[in-house]
Symmetry: C2
Subunit: 494 residues, 2 copies
């Protein structure tokens, strides 16, 4: 086992370096450093691929588990068996893709990221279009390498959420599409007279982000928060998990919610068992489960009345012009339901519709039914169809997300899945802590982190996403808790 | 040539990544990330060593230049011949040191750096001592690997300043030791009534740093400035050269001079020909020449009256409480000569004595005549002997510099050498631009950068430090220009 662990640890170290320089690219790197950074990423990506696919690694793995059949060859604990199962799964996936492809893809996306930034800034889709076209082409080739039974898009989904297929997504989404428009129609926003008299400085807002992260149990000895165009969290090791936020100088509350979202991701990474660094036991199990952690914090805590009863005084102490705000006003403000253009700023009711739109565009691109050049038109059509609004420009439309520029197709559906998971987790959480709202109102958030540490984080990839969810909640995965939550909160209580 | 260039470029890419994560370690890395960072550095250092010493690299090099004899085997330009000569020199040096040693050394210094930070913060030498002891031992082993004819310290000097020996350093230093104390005795500081009413915020001070860097021709598209304990500049590629500064909230002028110093280093790296990235033609020639660039900007421009006549209005516009200051007062303030504890804050007259002290301690450590445990005592004795002052504690004494914690022995003497080089360069500069002081007074600094670009930066390692200096100034290296400058500025004009 030691030989394999040493090799896998090396792989994880390379991945950590890669994550670090990608973090820098989004936060502090001077613009002119992009070309050189692309070379660095390409070199590291090559080594990463090599570390996971070399004959040396294959032999070390095959001594412990039969790569062809998956039969474990040694006597070991259940968690070690799970680690071997996941190591093998990764190996099969990684060896399906040739090194030259990995390097080409990495170099392309590094440059595409810069093109996307400029296209978004200048509201000029044509500057990103050739990159999107190439990225779609490469994703099609990737799907062929990975293999699939029905749609090439299935192969891409499986990368982010093991076992997920376009058919399964469509099934979950059709239930949402069936129910959500009716909800949206029925919802009447409560009056909200909250006035925020900004501008609020970067410094003051970042200070508040730090404060909320500390209360959530985020350890600044092992992390930091900075500003980036698209907020994200990254981990180079469970001992160095950083987050970023995006600031709106007139709305300090959007920063708090973004921070809680990214903080939820970071707590997952910080909560992985560092002693297993390099093993699947110290890796997050899927993007959907990852998103369940961020959405748990952002929507189930950050959008709750008890939270604002507890946190508003801190906000008022730090920022001027909020003296007369009440928790109920902030609650009504953050829970306003309104079809809008930007996914990351959308309310929790319309949010899934943003994801459904992206899923449908992605799937058509990958299945060759849509060209990159036609994305803006299709985007606006679907926005009108699902949300009844049309973006004024592409910067607020199909250029808003970073994902495609990073080469990620099949990623978006996990966002909606994460929201469903978080709703199911929350029902169990509520059952476990009937007094949760009093505790949160009193400023205690640490018990939430501990519960998630205990029930999700510490397991790494020991169980599949579905098994983990069942272990934590005692129930099979269902989107009912989410629909129940929305109905209770916005319709029944309204 | 292409095969070698490709391999050398890979080497430079790895070095760039290494420089980047070391920059992060000093600027933004959370404290708890140090152990994981040490693993990353160790892995990269191993690959760096491998890229420069592999059989593949050796064969590619040996096709073009005979590694044993140094005979160039192909017909090529003078600059390509120079590159081959330097590539060979590096190869011989790099292959002298085994990979296991490189990795061990790298892991040790990464941890020593954290220990030094704590020791300095807590003013507790005992927390750094065991690391210093180990670092000295490893430097002795390094000297044995590299080989030397007289003192093991010669081998370490040669790493930073090719051709330099302890005897040569002692010769230059003995001339300084002979003249400087007499100068220091004769100097009478001019009265200075400059009052600075801080505290000045980090933000305002960093803004000023950015302003001065811009005027120097530093391109923020390819760089940035941040704060660190020990100011430094780093380059991961000529297109990404970053600097850091240290801020004193009560003295904004020390930040300006530090920024000019680090900016001088960065302009050298930015001025190297990016098209040769990976080749010695795109590398700085020596630490001494590097330091000549920083000292040129810091002392010959930043400590001059014309500069303050030009820059003071900007300072006054940005910072309050300096309204009544005159350029002459600032000039007298920055040129105050006074024996002090901290090298980086010392005046240009006593500065060389700080270096001489370090040189003598280092040499004794490496030659086994002094133990790490006895460094504080020896430090304080020499401070008293050369500067007539005794540090109140080790934080202001032997713990003040980062270098030993980074494993660098033989580095300090290049600081004094750089000062001598810069004085010789300045005599030529003054001859070339008889109107330099008028131009600087009018706020023009760009012509200085261009002259240094033209005469130093663009050559990379094409010539030896001595040859380069002679090419730029028309004269052999001598410490006379420095002594002449000090005598004229502080004695004759006083």
């Amino acid at each position: 086992m030691n030989e394999l662990k040493t090799l896998a640890r090396k792989h994880a170290i390379i991945k950590g370096i890669l994550h670090h320089i990608e973090w820098d690219q989004e936060t502090f790197m001077p613009e002119g450093g992009a070309e050189s950074r692309a070379d660095q990423i390409q070199w590291l990506a090559g080594h990463l691929h090599n570390a996971a696919t070399s004959d040396e690694y294959k032999n070390a793995l095959n001594k412990l588990i039969d790569i062809q059949t998956g039969t474990v060859k040694i006597d070991c604990s259940d968690s070690e068996k799970a680690a071997l199962r996941e190591w093998r799964k990764d190996f099969v996936k990684d060896t399906a893709i040739p090194l030259a492809f990995v390097e080409e893809f990495s170099a392309l996306t590094s440059r595409a990221l810069e093109a996307w930034k400029i296209a978004r800034k200048e509201n000029d889709f044509s500057k990103f279009e050739p990159f999107l076209e190439k990225i779609v082409e490469m994703n099609k080739r990737k799907a062929e390498f990975l293999g699939y039974s029905k749609s090439p898009y299935d192969a891409l989904l499986d990368v982010y959420e093991p076992g997920l297929t376009a058919d399964k997504v469509e099934k979950v989404f059709s239930l949402l599409k069936e129910k959500m428009p009716d909800f949206v129609r029925k919802i009447k926003n409560k009056p909200c007279h909250l006035s925020m008299r900004g501008p609020y400085s970067e410094q003051d807002q970042l200070h508040l982000s730090q404060e909320i992260l500390k209360r959530m149990g985020y350890d600044f000895k092992h992390g930091r928060i900075d500003i980036s165009t698209h907020p994200f969290s990254t981990s180079e090791h469970p001992t160095d998990c950083r987050v970023t936020t995006r600031l709106d100088k007139n709305d300090p509350i959007s920063n708090i919610l973004t921070t809680m979202h990214e903080g939820g991701h970071a707590l997952y990474e910080m909560g992985l068992p560092a002693e297993h660094f390099g093993s699947p036991l110290a890796e997050s199990v899927s993007l959907g489960i990852h998103e369940s952690q961020s959405r748990f914090w952002e929507t189930r805590i950050g959008l709750s009345l008890p939270f604002w009863k507890g946190f508003l005084p801190t906000l008022q102490k730090s920022l001027k012009g909020l003296e007369n705000a009440t928790p109920e006003e902030v609650y009504n403000f953050v829970n306003k339901v309104e079809p809008s253009f930007i996914r990351v700023e959308s309310d929790e009711v319309t949010y899934p519709l943003h994801v459904i739109l992206r899923f449908e565009i992605e799937k058509d691109l990958i299945e060759g039914k849509l060209k990159a050049a036609d994305v803006p038109k299709r985007w606006n059509e679907l926005m009108h169809k699902y949300l009844g609004v049309t973006p004024p420009d592409d910067a607020k439309g199909c250029l808003q997300d970073i994902h495609w520029s990073m080469g990620s197709f099949g990623y978006f559906p996990t966002y909606a899945l994460g929201t469903m998971y978080s709703a199911q987790l929350f029902e169990k959480f509520e059952e476990t802590f009937p007094d949760w709202s009093e505790r949160v109102e009193n400023g205690d958030l640490l018990f939430i982190k501990k519960w998630l540490n205990e029930n999700i984080h510490r397991y790494g990839r020991q169980y599949s996403p579905e098994e983990l969810l069942k272990k934590a909640t005692g129930k099979e995965f269902s989107s009912e808790p989410f629909l129940r939550y929305i109905e209770n909160k916005y319709i029944n209580a309204g």
